[in-house]
């Protein structure tokens, strides 16, 4: 039996690589898991009740609307 080519028989290649080239095979699996998790994991987190914290303000949050008439601490 010759070494299978990935593009010809992907599943058979993976079965072969998992046994004969485990370091390469699992490196690809683990490396691909991160980018794949980016669109998948957040909806699951929100489903289980996790909430994203509000972004930390990077400048003073100036309130909108008219100014209050303040007294106290005057000259």
């Amino acid at each position: 039996m010759s070494t299978p080519y990935f593009w010809a028989t992907p599943l058979r290649y993976c079965r072969w690589a998992a046994r004969e080239r485990p370091a390469l095979f699992w490196s690809v699996i683990i490396g691909a898991a991160g980018p794949l998790a980016m669109p998948i994991v957040p909806p699951i987190r929100y489903y289980f009740g996790d909430i994203e914290p509000a972004p930390v303000p990077v400048t003073y949050p100036v309130p909108n609307g008219p100014r209050k008439q303040l007294s106290g601490y005057d000259d």
Partner: protein, 174 residues
């Protein structure tokens, strides 16, 4: 030898461009960064309206706020001074312990939670000012009330006291 007199060193700071006399004088807050950080949430609790007003004033008078909002700016300074003064009057020991801890620990708030809880308790009981971090998610314990601070160098032990939250302490009494 220089013939000029020194204007700025450890002992002397001479203001070479003082404000004109028609601007009422207001003293500096007179606290360095660690006490200010320690008192910051209480300053925010009492002076929120004044700080907001000052920033709104500066936003309205864009470009000229430094001249036109000096009255509001003096209010901000005086309000902060009043908070520092009240904390010094009522909670001096706790306040010192907390800000000296901050000073020693790179001003990282999470290193000084036990001292902070004691200060918060004292300030809440005497001044009715509450430390509250806005916009914290509702499903987790607020960061300042966690008995385990994962970034702290020293673990919080059982002798270090309990987290202080006014609403929680009221709930515990009932």
């Amino acid at each position: 030898m220089a013939t000029r007199r020194s204007h700025f060193h450890q002992q002397v700071l001479v203001d070479t461009t003082p404000l004109p006399d028609d601007v009422p004088a207001v003293k500096e807050v007179g606290a360095s960064s660690a006490p200010l950080l320690s008192a910051s949430f209480f300053i925010g609790a009492r002076c929120r309206d004044y700080n907001d007003d000052y920033m709104q004033c500066k936003t309205e008078k864009a470009g000229r706020g430094e001249f036109d909002c000096m009255k509001e700016g003096r209010r901000v300074t005086r309000c902060a001074q009043s908070v520092i003064k009240d904390i010094n009057t009522h909670c001096l020991a706790e306040f010192r312990r907390h800000w000296e801890c901050l000073d020693d620990r790179n001003q990282q708030l999470w290193q000084c939670r036990p001292a902070e809880w004691k200060l918060n308790k004292c300030v809440y009981e005497n001044l009715k000012l509450e430390k509250k971090i806005p916009d914290q998610p509702a499903n987790v314990t607020p960061v300042e009330l966690r008995p385990k601070q994962i970034f702290a160098d020293v673990r919080i032990g059982p002798g270090d006291g309990k987290p202080f939250a006014p609403s929680q302490s009221n709930a515990a009494k009932q």
